[in-house]
């Protein structure tokens, strides 16, 4: 399964939490919120919507760059270790952007990325750099050969393995950036292994050495002990002061091998990413592995068999820069008249229509690991929400969307996300870019239930599971994750307690150095989707770093927990929990609802039930009095306004049977783990 994984950062990440969005509750302090500079969600439009049409003036002749003059690399790091700043500096150093002209975090274009200081949209930038390779005896800089460098700013991390494998598939090396003061963190570990397993050349970069608490030697020692990286290979930099930056590109050129493609072979290129541009249609990011691509070529998709004509081709330098051609080993963009990003399957192999080629090893298909119902906050806005979701998924094909309906919330959608951050970003973009206000139901993970007749169902919506099934359930499985936790050793006790409360199983326990402990746990995915990271941070004063990658399903004792109001189940509040936790979760749900549902004209019973067994119960007594005294001097306007407000309040509520449920109640339920 290719999804989720996330790491952490320390307390200073608080700034990322300030934004407002429709799901304030569950994500506060979630690792997904804060972390990672490198996420790719297949979200969309980048910096390319206003291409320069000046290839001639640029005088870029790509034929001058055979594969041995090309280096493809990415930068990978734990969140806030300085990846985006380093990328900015490299773009400036090569003159790709002018210093002070580009906005900081140049490659992060979306509002959501800037607000959160994260990258959710992968980007690629082509840079040119003159370098005297292997110390050849050339004294005049003008005579030094120019190298074409592709910085592929994609997830250096395992959040979504198919996305990660995609970005790494186009690279031969990676800069592993580590904060000189914070040292190796959970995400650094995950990053390293990804790059390592992809056989990439790894260049360790110890960044932020200008900090007073920087301890590069300690970090070198950690890199040696954890990853067996030679301390003398590490570059010492400060992207802030510029110290050591001149060493970075030479190291990239000297140490990272050129792409291995064969220019004489038939064209094979890997579709890395796609997005929708209002003016040009679908724009595909591609890496040409073998052969050569020219404008006007007819190309075909190995996956769909569809043929297209190449209308425009070029490189990102850093905006769309037409070159008319891409040679093997080069990374660029193609406009081919595709109508929807759904046609552009990420990981697909594109080749010339007339030739038959062996498809490149593709990527694992995206697996949706977190599901949630998305409903219009105001039931009448369904069409508006439908439109917004259509527009957004046009640029983010990685969200699965299916219409569903709920008795409580009306018409809406069941959306599948690659992970929690993905879900969160999706919601935020719906609100920010399309003005859609939504109610989201409690995120759930896909469970597998097996019945006595050996039929199996994949449950993405708890409401879809019968509360009193006619067939006996013989087994259930739930998805798990492999979690990496790095903490100062004094917090080991409480963290182990937390993990075992969350039904975790310890797989590894070791010391990184004298003060810090590295642990690996297998945890049920459901146990971490809501507030695990929050909890972890709070018990470790913010010092824990955390990351996870998905692991296999495990058999588990699961039950469906229904919430009933006046005896009527509220489908949107149903949830699937471990049998041993059902009592506690049921109690919590009932208490939350009691707090957030106002007294109404009739008494309300709130119950939590497993099948027909009630496990928690509360009542809200009927409203006693709601009356306004007189209309003074006949001035009824104020009173009427009050009553109209009361009416509007009712309108915003969701009605189940005779009970009005305020929207906040749904938001609050997201917080119950």
């Amino acid at each position: 399964m290719g999804s989720l994984s996330r790491a952490s950062k320390t307390l200073k990440s608080v700034r990322h939490f300030s934004l407002t969005h429709p799901f304030p509750s569950i994500f506060k302090g979630n690792p997904l919120y804060t972390r990672l500079n490198d996420h790719h969600f297949g979200l969309s439009h980048g910096f390319c919507s206003h291409p320069r049409q000046n290839s001639k003036e640029n005088g870029i002749d790509l034929s001058n760059y055979p594969t041995e003059r090309i280096r493809n690399f990415s930068i990978i790091a734990h969140v806030d270790h300085g990846k985006s700043t380093l990328a900015d500096r490299l773009l400036e150093l090569t003159g790709t952007i002018k210093r002070g002209h580009g906005q900081p975090q140049y490659l992060d274009k979306l509002q959501v990325e800037r607000e959160r200081g994260i990258t959710v949209k992968a980007q690629t930038a082509t840079m040119f750099h003159k370098h005297n390779f292997r110390g050849t005896d050339i004294s005049d800089v003008q005579d030094q050969p120019s190298f074409l460098l592709n910085l592929i700013d994609t997830p250096g991390h395992v959040d979504f393995s198919y996305e990660v494998s995609r970005s790494l598939a186009a690279c031969q090396g990676a800069l592993l950036v580590v904060d000189a003061a914070q040292g190796v963190q959970a995400q650094t570990v995950a990053n390293f292994y990804l790059a390592f397993e992809s056989n990439l050349t790894i260049i360790p970069v110890i960044n932020k050495i200008d900090q007073p608490t920087a301890d590069p030697d300690l970090v070198k020692a950690q890199l040696k002990s954890m990853f067996d990286l030679d301390p003398s290979d590490a570059l010492l930099t400060s992207a802030k002061t510029g110290q050591g930056l001149d060493q970075v590109l030479p190291a990239v050129i000297e140490r990272i091998p050129p792409p291995p493609g064969k220019s004489g072979s038939p064209l094979r290129m890997l579709l890395l990413d796609s997005y929708y541009d209002e003016y040009k249609g679908v724009i595909c990011h591609v890496a040409v592995v073998d052969g050569m691509l020219r404008k006007g070529d007819k190309i075909s998709s190995a996956a769909t068999g569809q043929a297209y004509e190449v209308l425009d081709v070029g490189i990102m330098h850093p905006e769309l820069t037409p070159t008319g051609v891409l040679h093997s080993g080069q990374v660029g963009y193609v406009v081919s008249g595709m109508r929807s990003t759904k046609e552009a399957r990420v990981g697909d192999t594109l080749s010339h229509s007339r030739s038959v080629v062996e498809p490149l090893p593709g990527f694992k298909p995206a697996k949706h690991m977190v599901f949630s119902g998305v409903y219009p906050a105001d039931g009448s806005d369904f069409e508006a929400l439908n439109h917004a979701i259509e527009r957004l998924t046009c640029n983010d094909a990685s969200v699965s969307v299916a219409k569903e309906s709920s008795t409580a919330l009306g018409l809406g959608f069941r959306c599948g996300f690659l992970g929690l951050l993905h879900m969160d970003v999706f919601h935020q973009r719906l609100e920010q870019e399309y003005g859609a206000h939504v109610i989201s139901t409690v995120p759930t993970v896909p469970y597998i239930f097996e019945y006595s007749d050996e039929s199996k169902v994949l449950v993405q919506n708890p409401a879809a599971l019968p509360s009193n099934p006619t067939k006996r359930i013989s087994a259930c499985w739930e998805p798990t994750v492999m979690a990496t936790i790095i903490i100062p050793s004094e917090y080991v006790g409480p963290v182990i307690t937390l993990c075992s409360e969350r039904r975790g199983q310890q797989l590894e326990y070791s010391f990184i150095d004298s003060q810090r402990v590295f642990m690996k746990y297998r945890l049920p995915l459901r146990e971490i989707v809501v507030d695990f990271y929050n909890e972890l941070k709070s018990i470790t004063s913010g010092y824990a770093s955390f990351d996870y990658e998905d692991a296999e399903y495990q058999q588990s004792d699961l039950v469906k927990l229904d919430v009933l109001l006046n005896g009527q189940p509220v489908d949107a509040m149903a949830t699937i929990v471990h049998n041993l936790k059902a009592q506690r979760v049921g109690r919590e749900l009932v208490d939350k609802l009691k707090k957030f549902i106002d007294r109404q004209m009739f008494e309300i019973t709130i119950q939590a039930a497993i099948g027909s067994k009630i496990i928690a119960r509360e009542t809200i007594s009927a409203m006693r009095k709601n009356v306004l005294a007189k209309c003074y001097g006949g001035d009824i306007t104020r009173k009427k306004k009050l009553l109209e407000k009361q009416k509007e309040g009712k309108k915003r509520m969701k009605r189940v049977g005779s009970v009005d449920i305020p929207q906040e109640a749904f938001h609050e339920l997201l917080k119950v783990s």
Binding site: M601, K630, C631, G634, D635, K639, L642, K647
Partner: protein
């Protein structure tokens, strides 16, 4: 004539609220040639359509509310537009502030446009405040004189005045009676010294008894005892005592106001509704029930949410409000409802003075700027009539706003008829049982035949009137 012209417009409204309004424009403007021209001439076509409300509100008002804002001090619960005279003013007879204000008030009345000389004279005048009884009778007299000259004043008009204990003696009372004041609304509020003190009243218990005595001895036949329930630290025993003493004083009318804690008042700063020292919601509901029971037992009719009276002693002026009939309003912060438009005057003396000047110069009118949609009027009618025991008259409501609105109202109210909060009545005011309602609901025509009124029950429906009226609003304007 008016009614028949308007009916087509309204019967279309519920089904097609977005029907282009221009179509009706000519139709309606023609009608307006015969209409009291208090509707603004410069109104947009939209406004013209929408001001064409029920014929009732288009009539010339026969009621006038007069605001006399002066008080010795501000009570702790009060957020009305008042002018606190302070303790220095022991001689309100000569207070220039009162004199100036009354002159201004008379100017406002005089500057008000009256379209026809044949208008019916005023049937009710209500002096509210503030503490109108602080105003010297000779000034009250001048106000009444101006009203008489301007609008005419029916010889048997109901002329009410709010009076506070300690602000009048028998002499003043007699003078007022001589001027025509024939109904007194006595602001007693409580029969416990500590409660009077706690709510910042300018009088004590002794003045209360004195005032009751004066009202009785001067022969005021129609008077109201005004009480407030749910005061801070008020106990059931205190409330029981207040109700008992009220019944013993034998007023013809009792008003019981449940304390509203308003923002910006002293109580608003100190207290939260339902929390100590205010009675809990349950207790406060209990007070309401006690009042309803005690007063009903003493043969008072609970004819409106907060009003009780002996048979035939309803406050005619207030009935104007509940029946959505037009009324004039004069004075600081007062509200009027003329020509289908509601308007509130400025709440501050300075702004009010400017308003009167503009009115005299013809650059302002008292019609307000809000356009009124038929559904807004429908909400007014529902909100006001459901406050009364008479309830909503379905026949006239249907004629004005269409049968589908009545139907959706019943659909919303059905569970509350079953729970006893809402009562359906036939034309003989017999209760229609809930199960009969269910069958009636199957067929719109049967609603019409078997149901004539809906009202809120006493006390359960009245107690939750906000909730129930808000539900009705939802049915009218979803």
């Amino acid at each position: 004539m008016l009614k028949s012209t308007f009916t087509p417009v309204f019967s279309l409204f519920p089904a097609k609220p977005r029907t282009p309004k221009l179509f009706y424009y000519s139709n309606i403007t023609n009608t307006f040639k015969h209409n009291p021209p208090s509707v603004r001439r410069n109104a947009s076509s939209n406004t013209i359509l929408t001001t064409s409300t029920t014929p009732l509100s288009q009539l010339t008002p026969t009621s006038a509310y007069i605001h006399l804002p002066f008080c010795r001090k501000r009570c702790h619960y009060c957020d009305f537009p008042i002018v606190a005279l302070g303790s220095s003013s022991n001689q309100p007879d000569d207070d220039p502030r009162i004199l100036n204000y009354v002159q201004l008030l008379c100017r406002e009345i005089n500057a008000t446009k009256v379209e026809s000389k044949t208008n019916p004279p005023l049937q009710t005048v209500f002096f509210g405040g503030g503490t109108p009884s602080l105003v010297p009778p000779k000034l009250v007299s001048s106000v009444l004189e101006v009203l008489r000259l301007k609008f005419g004043l029916s010889s048997n008009a109901e002329i009410s005045m709010e009076m506070d204990p300690g602000t009048f003696d028998a002499k003043k009372m007699k003078e007022l009676i001589g001027l025509g004041v024939n109904r007194v609304s006595l602001g007693v509020q409580a029969f416990q010294e500590e409660l009077l003190k706690a709510c910042g009243r300018a009088h004590g218990l002794e003045e209360v008894y004195e005032a009751i005595e004066i009202v009785g001895s001067c022969g005021v036949e129609n008077w109201s005892m005004d009480l407030i329930s749910s005061l801070p630290n008020q106990t059931s025993e205190m409330w029981e005592e207040s109700l008992r003493l009220t019944v013993e004083a034998e007023p013809t009318h009792v008003s019981v106001y449940d304390l509203q804690v308003e923002q910006g008042t002293k109580f608003g700063i100190l207290y939260t509704p339902g929390e100590f020292p205010l009675p809990s919601e349950t207790q406060s509901a209990e007070f309401y029930r006690m009042a309803s029971n005690t007063l009903s037992d003493a043969s008072y009719n609970h004819y409106e949410i907060s009003s009780y009276c002996k048979s035939g002693f309803e406050c005619k002026h207030n009935l104007t409000y509940w029946r959505n009939k037009p009324f004039y309003g004069f004075g600081l912060g007062s509200a009027s409802y003329v020509g289908g438009l509601r308007f509130s005057r400025p709440r501050k003396i300075k702004e009010y003075t400017g308003y009167v000047q503009n009115l005299e110069n013809g650059v302002a009118d008292c019609c307000g700027n809000d356009s009124v949609e038929p559904k807004d009027v429908a909400m007014d009618v529902v909100m006001l009539s459901l406050r009364t025991s008479r309830g909503l008259d379905l026949k006239s409501f249907k004629e004005a706003y269409g049968g589908s609105l009545v139907f959706s109202l019943f659909k919303v109210y059905k569970p509350y008829v079953e729970s006893g909060h809402v009562v359906c009545l036939d034309e003989h005011r017999r209760v229609v049982p809930a199960d009969e309602l269910s069958t009636a609901l199957l067929d719109v025509d049967r609603i019409e035949k078997s149901l004539a009124y809906i009202r809120l029950s006493d006390p359960d429906g009245f107690l939750l009137s906000n909730e129930l009226i808000a539900l009705a609003f939802g049915a009218i304007a979803p």
